[in-house]
Amino acid sequence: MNGAVQLPFWLEFSVAALLLIGSLFALIGALGLVRLKDYFQRMHPPALASTIGAWCVALASILYFSALKQSPVLHAWLIPILLSITVPVTTLLLARAALFRKRTSGEAVPDEVSSGNDRGN
């Protein structure tokens, strides 16, 4: 980047390190989807990308643009916050759908936890 402001080395180093760490965790998350055999096991690795992956990239963006503009640029941190609100919705939906399918096809998953006459939803 040929910004007007020359950034100190330690800052550029931190930004690069954060980006690399974030990408590494996103990569491991994707790798998990390929390597793990069980559907429910595969629900876990994508959380690496939506947590540490997103946090590191957002933090790198905040550091870089705050230094460049010489004032705090914090709005990138909204991404992790909004991600942590929206990701559970889809994850829950996937888990419920998978449980329903596996129960219907008679695979070895736990029975519905609602007991008595209540019918699960």
């Binding site: 429910f40 876990h44 947590t51 990701v87």
Partner: protein, 162 residues
């Protein structure tokens, strides 16, 4: 609370969100943010019959810090589990967790926490909210896990919401 501000915290959050998104505190944006903060909760109030009561801001702060720390630790654990999956498959299991908390907002927060922390996925909640079915990526000791889970997440959430 009252008719103009049915959810004061939500109003403040939306106001701050708007200013942050626009990165400006110009009069126009202050006005638009305030309009959003006042109108959105009023329009959404009919959709939320129950009001959340959030107490103990200190417990909230501590819980958020705790979850942040747990996310980092379990990220490393799940990453290690994925990398070693070939030689040592993770001991994944479903765990039944008996719940003492009944507050809908507390349970919603709990479902968010379990899903955001890698290594646990919220799978099913009993209709009477007494049991939670959780899928755990790598389970060592079921009883210890349940105790840890209730102590770190459920108890603070009950203090906050109930």
């Amino acid at each position: 609370m009252n008719r103009l501000f049915p959810a004061p915290l939500l109003s403040v959050a939306l106001f701050v969100l708007w200013l942050l998104l626009n990165l400006s505190v110009s009069p126009g944006n202050l006005l638009l943010g305030a309009a959003l903060g006042v109108l959105a909760p009023i329009l959404m109030a009919p959709l939320r019959p129950q009001h959340a009561h959030i107490r103990r801001p200190l417990v909230v702060t501590r819980l958020i810090a705790r979850v942040g720390l747990d996310v980092i630790v379990s990220n490393l654990l799940v990453a290690r589990g994925v990398l070693r999956a070939g030689s040592r498959p993770p001991r994944s299991a479903f765990v039944h967790i008996p719940l003492a908390m009944r507050d809908a907002h507390g349970l919603a927060a709990l479902s968010m926490i379990t899903t955001v922390v890698p290594g646990t996925v919220w799978s099913e909640l009993a209709l009477d909210r007494s049991v939670l079915l959780l899928h755990v990526f790598d389970l060592e000791d079921e009883a210890a896990f349940i105790e840890h889970f209730k102590h770190t997440y459920e108890r603070p959430l009950m203090e906050i919401f109930e």
